[in-house]
């Protein structure tokens, strides 16, 4: 690809589809299992066509039984396969918490390093579609707190494909979080297989005098915020960690040393969210370089509301992000 016009555009949903197809073509040990993923092609449409290509042994419709579904992945991974287990909505992880936290995350450690668990859990998080409190959550912080799990969040189609491929190639359990409000977002996605290395952040937009660290869908909102901030003479750098565990702290620190100010943005509830971890690490590693406290933008401390009138105030957006940057700089929006 040499010119922008030659670059193939793909929406997130098709990037996920292509990643799974290529992974299954590459390795007969890779299979996909989940609720409605085979015949129906998933309620989000990301697995359409896979049943026809790979058959029901490798693209498996399961009962609505999240504990057994994750257990299916744990047992299959422990005996040599590379399962991709789809948990339709991240909210449903609660039903499978034992298998995720007590079994998948701990098997290798508890068994003294003997188990290999190349298990990928794929799921959809995020609000904005009026699906209310049990179909809209961003629960990544739950899993980041559990040693033994890796957690990645895709901010667009390029990331969705590259992170999923890296997750399936990884020999540890990885939770791959996509955001359902981004499924239609199109962007450049290379046709070949590629990995986004776990633990490598991306500077999505280089800038000089403010650092915005954003995850998942908030990367898009932060990019829009950065455009607004230009009008105020602020050249913000936007960084997407992509992988929360392992976390590329070095790239974040390097940026803060340059800009001296930082804001962490995520869609999840702000209180005890992953942003707190990033903020704490930055003040530990770059305190002397900071000219202001590190800010955090996240959802309020409430379940996700249903009414569009309320939900619009729940999910952080570009205006709020830009406003918070201006506030941290002591300027009014």
């Amino acid at each position: 690809m040499t010119t922008a016009t030659a670059q193939r555009q793909l929406p997130v949903v098709m990037a996920i589809n292509e990643a799974i197809r290529q992974l299954m073509q590459e390795d007969p040990n890779v299979f996909l299992a989940g609720e409605d993923v085979a015949l129906y092609g998933s309620v989000f449409g990301f697995s359409r066509g896979l049943l026809d290509e790979f058959g029901p042994e490798r693209v498996v419709d399961t009962p609505i039984s999240e504990a057994a579904l994750v257990g299916l992945g744990v047992g299959a991974a422990a005996t040599g396969l590379r399962p991709i287990i789809d948990i339709m909505f991240m909210d449903f992880m609660g039903v499978a918490m034992d298998q995720l936290v007590n079994q998948a995350a701990k098997m290798r450690y508890m068994f003294g390093g003997k188990a290999r668990l190349p298990l990928t859990i794929h799921t959809m998080a995020g609000a904005g579609l009026n699906l209310a409190a049990q179909h809209s959550q961003s629960l990544e912080a739950w899993f980041c707190h559990v040693p033994g799990l890796k957690v990645v969040m895709a901010s667009g189609p390029y990331e969705a494909k590259g992170l999923l491929i890296a997750a399936v190639h990884d020999d540890s359990p990885v939770i791959v979080v996509n955001n359902k409000a981004l499924l239609g977002l199109a962007g450049h996605v290379p046709e070949e297989m590629y990995e986004i290395p776990l633990g490598q952040a991306a500077v999505v937009r280089p800038g000089t005098n403010f650092t915005i660290i954003a995850t998942g869908r908030m990367v898009q909102e932060s990019l829009a915020a950065a455009e607004k901030l230009l009008e105020h003479g602020i050249d913000a750098e936007v960084i997407d960690p992509r992988s929360l565990v392992p976390l590329d702290t070095a790239t974040l620190v390097e940026s803060v040393r340059k800009t001296h100010r930082a804001l962490v943005v995520h869609e999840a509830v702000r209180f005890a969210g992953f942003g707190a971890e990033i903020a704490a690490q930055l003040q530990e590693a770059a305190f002397d370089y900071l000219d202001a406290p590190i800010g955090r933008v996240g959802a309020p401390f409430s379940p996700v509301p249903f009414s569009p009138a309320l939900e619009a105030h729940y999910v952080p957006n570009a205006d709020r992000i830009a406003g918070e940057v201006l506030r941290l700089l002591g300027r009014s929006g």
Binding site: Q99, M110, P147
Partner: protein, 322 residues
């Protein structure tokens, strides 16, 4: 599928290995020489032995809190087992799992489990894997009467029945979920009845009679290997010691008389009587096997106690595959 004399001797040896390992572990625990909690399998040996006698290379087992018996039954190494109980670097889990998480991936023993009902979903995964890879292997999922009340068991049973997985659910019904008697935690008497809800057979067997377990497990495993799907085998058994630790008698939730009555049906004594009747093994012969296993236990304990503790540098190793 009446067992041959060789098989009967094999069953006897498997049970004795479990019993003597466990009794020694119990003594060490009482003496404060091994740390943590110990959930002994004594009394339930016929179940593990009768099932494991049909398992081989490539088959898997998922286990319970009471996992030593299952690991011994599939050929667990006493030295590495005791070393793990002692928390030593030479243990099966390098001192990171202990009694409740003891495992041997090479033997297909996918771990004792500290979570009641944690095993059945994993057994579904292992059985799915066997079917996917088109092996003839089977997975034996051990669980208790208490675990059969967990949602995870029902989800796993439904999935196993739906996919006709090569899996046998082995319920070790010892009459108690921790300290709560079965009639106080379940409205049914035979857990095997639950299989009907998932479209596969449920079989009740005397879990103190290793020959009965061996025969019933043999049929269920053959059925699984033929691709005809799972079976739920309910083995009525009893734990001679407490839920955790040794005590065994004189505790509030069951009477000494009850324990004594069950001990009269000790599965090892029952088999030894049968072996004597059949002229396969007399009392001195049985004593000789016992001595042999005792020596193996003593040697393993000495090895474990002489083994080093893990280096603190290993504390954060193996959280992830490198």
């Amino acid at each position: 599928m009446t067992p041959s004399p060789e098989t009967l001797l094999d069953l006897h040896r498997r049970m004795l290995r479990i019993r003597l390992f466990e009794e020694e572990a119990g003594r060490l625990s009482e003496a404060g020489r091994i740390p943590g909690a110990l959930h002994l399998y004594v009394g339930e040996e016929a179940v593990a032995a009768g099932v494991a006698a049909h398992l081989g290379q490539g088959d898997q087992v998922t286990s319970t809190h009471r996992g030593h018996g299952h690991l011994v039954a599939v050929g667990g190494d006493f030295r590495r087992m005791f070393a793990e109980l002692f928390g030593r670097a030479t243990g099966y889990c390098r001192g990171k799992g202990g009694s409740m998480h003891i495992a041997d991936m090479d033997l297909g023993m996918l771990g004792a489990n500290g979570i009641v009902g944690g095993g059945p979903p994993i057994a579904v995964g292992a059985a799915f894997s066997n079917k996917y890879r088109k092996t003839q292997n089977v997975t034996a999922c051990f669980f208790g009467d208490g675990a059969s009340n967990e949602g995870s068991f029902h989800e796993a049973a439904n999935m196993a029945g739906l996919y006709r997985l090569p899996l046998i659910f082995v319920c070790e019904n010892n009459g108690f979920g921790e300290f709560t008697r079965q009639d106080r935690h379940q409205a049914i008497r035979d857990i095997a009845d639950r299989a009907a809800g998932y479209g596969f057979p449920g079989v009740v067997v005397d879990g103190m009679d290793v020959i009965a377990v061996y025969e019933a497990a043999g049929e269920a495993i053959a059925r699984a290997r033929r691709g005809e799907g799972p079976t739920l085998l309910e083995c009525k058994t009893y734990r001679f010691y407490d839920h955790v630790g040794v005590r065994g008698m004189g505790v509030v939730y069951r009477s000494d008389d009850e324990v004594r009555a069950w001990r009269e049906r000790d599965p090892i004594t029952l088999l030894e009587r049968r072996l004597a009747e059949l002229g396969i093994l007399d009392a001195p012969g049985a004593a000789a096997v016992r001595d042999q296993v005792h020596a193996e236990v003593r040697e393993a304990v000495a090895f474990a106690e002489a083994s080093p503790f893990p280096d603190p540098a290993t504390l954060t190793e193996d959280v992830y595959a490198s």
